[in-house]
């Protein structure tokens, strides 16, 4: 009798190597499914059990999930772009042009990074509108809204710091204008601007600082808060589906 794909799959899941990686025992049932989620480092942030409705394809297209997807595209393409980009005044603009005209697939990766960045900002706003109008920010989820606002700011700072890196006229004047906006902060404005730019003008120090912020500090901040954001979904009673009243959910 010919073996089916499913039987190969089940055989694989019973091998010792598989069992050493995925701790849950083979089989089916509620407990098994719950353990499979709980004992996986990537899935354990999710609820072990969720409503079918929260997984169904909806008219709002999983806005939070799409935001995460664009973020992962941005990390992937961004790391690759870093291999050809030098954050220095003589080289930055030429490297950006090389990525567009010389590097194989460079144009594709740069454009993917750029359009995903635009999409991520758009999706973050759409996600926040949805959460706001559906009332998903209400207790017990009010703190996750706060985390979401932090993630909005991190997204905007990522967008802003990335804007300088091509080192073209648009980048230079946009950051000049933006840093002058910050200097309007009462009392501390000039100090903040000086620390942000590492000088008085948008120059080599500013380019390097924005590069480090864009490629290291802000992505790590985003990953940290995304993890907290997803973990809170589980701890606050799963995705908001509009089923049941929130007072009942707050006890669950």
């Amino acid at each position: 009798m010919a073996k089916t794909v499913e039987s190969y799959w089940n055989d694989l899941r019973e091998t010792r190597a598989w069992r050493s990686i995925f701790r849950g025992a083979p089989g089916a049932g509620n407990l098994h499914s719950a353990l499979a989620v709980q004992q996986n480092v990537f899935l354990h942030l999710a609820s072990v059990k969720m409503r079918r409705k929260s997984l169904a394809f909806s008219a709002t297209w999983y806005l939070g999930t799409l935001t995460l997807a664009t973020f992962m595209i941005l990390v992937g393409t961004g790391v690759l772009l870093m291999l050809y980009y030098h954050p220095s005044v003589p080289q930055a603009y030429a490297d950006m042009k090389d990525l567009e005209f010389v590097v194989s697939a460079g144009l594709f990766l740069r454009n993917l990074h750029r359009w995903s960045a635009h999409a991520m900002v758009l999706l973050v706003f759409a996600h926040m509108f949805k959460v706001f109008y559906r009332g998903a920010y209400r207790p017990p989820r009010e703190f996750n809204w706060v985390i979401g606002v932090i993630l909005l700011l991190v997204t905007l700072f990522l967008s802003y710091t990335g804007y300088l890196l091509p080192w073209d006229q648009l980048a230079f004047w946009a950051i000049t204008v933006g840093s002058n906006l910050i200097s309007a902060v009462p009392l501390l404005g000039q100090k903040i601007r000086f620390l942000m730019l590492g000088g008085n003008t948008v120059n080599a120090n500013a380019l390097l600082r924005f590069y480090v912020l864009h490629c290291v500090i802000l992505p790590f901040a985003a990953i940290l808060f995304i993890a907290i954001h997803f973990w809170r979904i589980r701890k606050d009673g799963g995705l908001h589906t509009g089923i049941g009243d929130s007072a009942k959910e707050s006890h669950g």
Binding site: W173, T176, V177, S179, N180, L181, F194, L195, G198, G199, N200, T201, N203, A204, N205
Partner: protein, 163 residues
């Protein structure tokens, strides 16, 4: 907690236990170290040496600039004006958000491309969102007879340099 207090008559008398005082000492040390780290961090992030261009720009001999002319030096971000009263220099950096303005000879105005501010040749704002006029900069003649402009020193308007 109350049970522990019964066991410790010294605490009941309002005395601070040895453990509590060590906790306070530890937290105090952490607070001091935290403040120190904040100061160190601020000092580290503020560059002590800047490799920025000198604020003093040498724009050359005065006879380069004909009478009643406004010359843009975009590299230095300044305008040199040779008026009837003498020479003066304006900053070309827009007082709104720091864009580089441009001289429009056909209109006789200085215009900012970013948000539409307009200034006359005295630096006075005639239109747009700029909150202040373009500042007048300190101008003087060097011993060699070159016009020097200090871009970091703003002077009150209507001070002319005669050659």
């Amino acid at each position: 907690m109350s049970k522990q207090k019964e066991d410790m008559p010294r605490e009941q008398a309002g005395e601070v236990s040895r453990r509590e005082s060590f906790v306070k000492l530890g937290l105090g040390s952490l607070a001091v170290a935290g403040c120190g780290a904040a100061v160190f961090g601020y000092e580290f992030l503020s560059p002590n040496v800047l490799y920025e261009p000198s604020p003093i720009a040498n724009v050359g001999k005065p006879d380069r600039f004909p009478q009643d002319s406004l010359t843009a030096d975009t590299g230095s971000g300044i305008y040199i004006v040779h008026a009837a009263e003498g020479f003066y220099a304006l900053s070309a950096t827009c007082t709104h958000l720091g864009c580089l303005t441009a001289w429009k000879p056909e209109l006789g105005i200085i215009a900012c491309p970013c948000h539409g501010s307009k200034f006359n040749r005295q630096g006075t704002k005639v239109d747009g969102p700029a909150p202040k006029p373009l500042p007048w900069l300190k101008v003087w003649l060097s011993d060699e007879g070159d016009l020097l402009v200090d871009r970091s020193t703003v002077i009150p308007p209507n001070q002319y340099v005669r050659t």
